[in-house]
């Protein structure tokens, strides 16, 4: 966080403190704050120290946060953004093996649907963070009323990494 902010305040569960990297050892020695945060919320308040380019990048990134980011997160189901008054939100609903991602932008709501397919592997290479050599892979195939949507989509390791596209054989599509 200190790459983008000089000062970070944290309000959580009655613990209210800040780090100020402009102070000696300020990144690790917190200052206790007198003020309290809102109940039942955890707040991180970042006082940004970005240059103009960095700030614009941050604005753009927050405005463009893809609803699909919620596809493979384990717990977070809703994500709202307010960038200097421009509000948008994304939410995720699951019905069986279908995931709906709704993106609410100023003046419009976009819904995308995905079929979720899960695969378990038990013969992965040994790794200390992978007990039992087991792992699970999920693939979410986008579709609409007319059928599958054949587009490049992000590959995720929980969060988006890079775009890739499945090739679909013509014979499969056309029977």
């Amino acid at each position: 966080m200190f790459a983008v902010a000089d000062r970070v305040q944290i309000f959580s569960n009655g613990f209210n403190f800040e780090f100020d990297q402009r102070k000696e050892l300020g990144r690790i020695c917190p200052t206790i704050l007198d003020e309290d945060g809102p109940p039942n919320k955890t707040l991180f308040v970042l006082f940004l120290s970005l240059d103009k380019v960095g700030y614009t990048e941050l604005e753009d990134h927050l405005n463009d946060l893809d609803g699909e980011t919620l596809l493979f997160l384990k717990k977070i189901r809703s994500l709202s953004v307010n960038v200097n008054g421009r509000r948008s939100s994304r939410s995720r609903d699951v019905h069986g093996d279908v995931i709906s991602i709704k993106t609410h932008l100023p003046g419009k709501t976009v819904t995308k649907e995905f079929v979720l397919v899960e695969n378990s592997s038990t013969d992965m290479p040994h790794h200390e963070k992978r007990p039992g050599q087991r792992t699970k892979t999920w693939v979410a195939f986008p579709y609409d009323k007319s059928g599958p949507i054949i587009d490049p989509n992000f590959m995720y390791a929980v969060l988006p990494m890079q775009k890739m596209q499945f090739k679909v054989r013509n014979s499969y599509l056309h029977g």
Binding site: N13, R27, T42, V45, H61, V158
Partner: protein, 110 residues
């Protein structure tokens, strides 16, 4: 680290996904950017005393500890940079080559 703001946002999001939420609560995150202030709000259960201890010893890291443990990380990034912060001058980095353990290389920050 995190010089790319988008990376920082995604890392924070992943950390918030790793924290605990009360039953019946729809886990929600809000990013509120107003001028030079970015407020990140979540409805997670909140910090314990152990979490506060952990974040104070990993001041640089955006990894949010759960029950005092930073879980599911690819490296406890905070530690190295806190040390750099403490020394705040030139520091050597010693790396041993994997296959020929007799070869040791040293880099000095300049």
């Amino acid at each position: 680290m995190y010089s790319d703001p988008s990376h920082f946002i995604l890392e924070l999001l992943q950390n918030l996904d790793d924290t605990s939420y009360a039953a019946g609560v729809q886990p929600t995150v809000l990013f509120n950017l107003h001028n030079d202030k970015l407020v990140v709000e979540s409805n997670q259960i909140g910090f314990t005393e152990k979490d506060v201890d952990a974040i104070c010893s990993l001041g640089e890291s955006s990894k949010i500890p759960i029950d005092g443990v930073v879980k599911d990380t690819t490296g406890e990034k905070g530690i190295g940079c806190v040390l750099v912060d403490l020394i705040n001058s030139r520091f050597p980095v010693v790396v041993r080559r994997r296959r020929q353990s007799s070869d040791i290389f040293e880099w000095v920050q300049f």
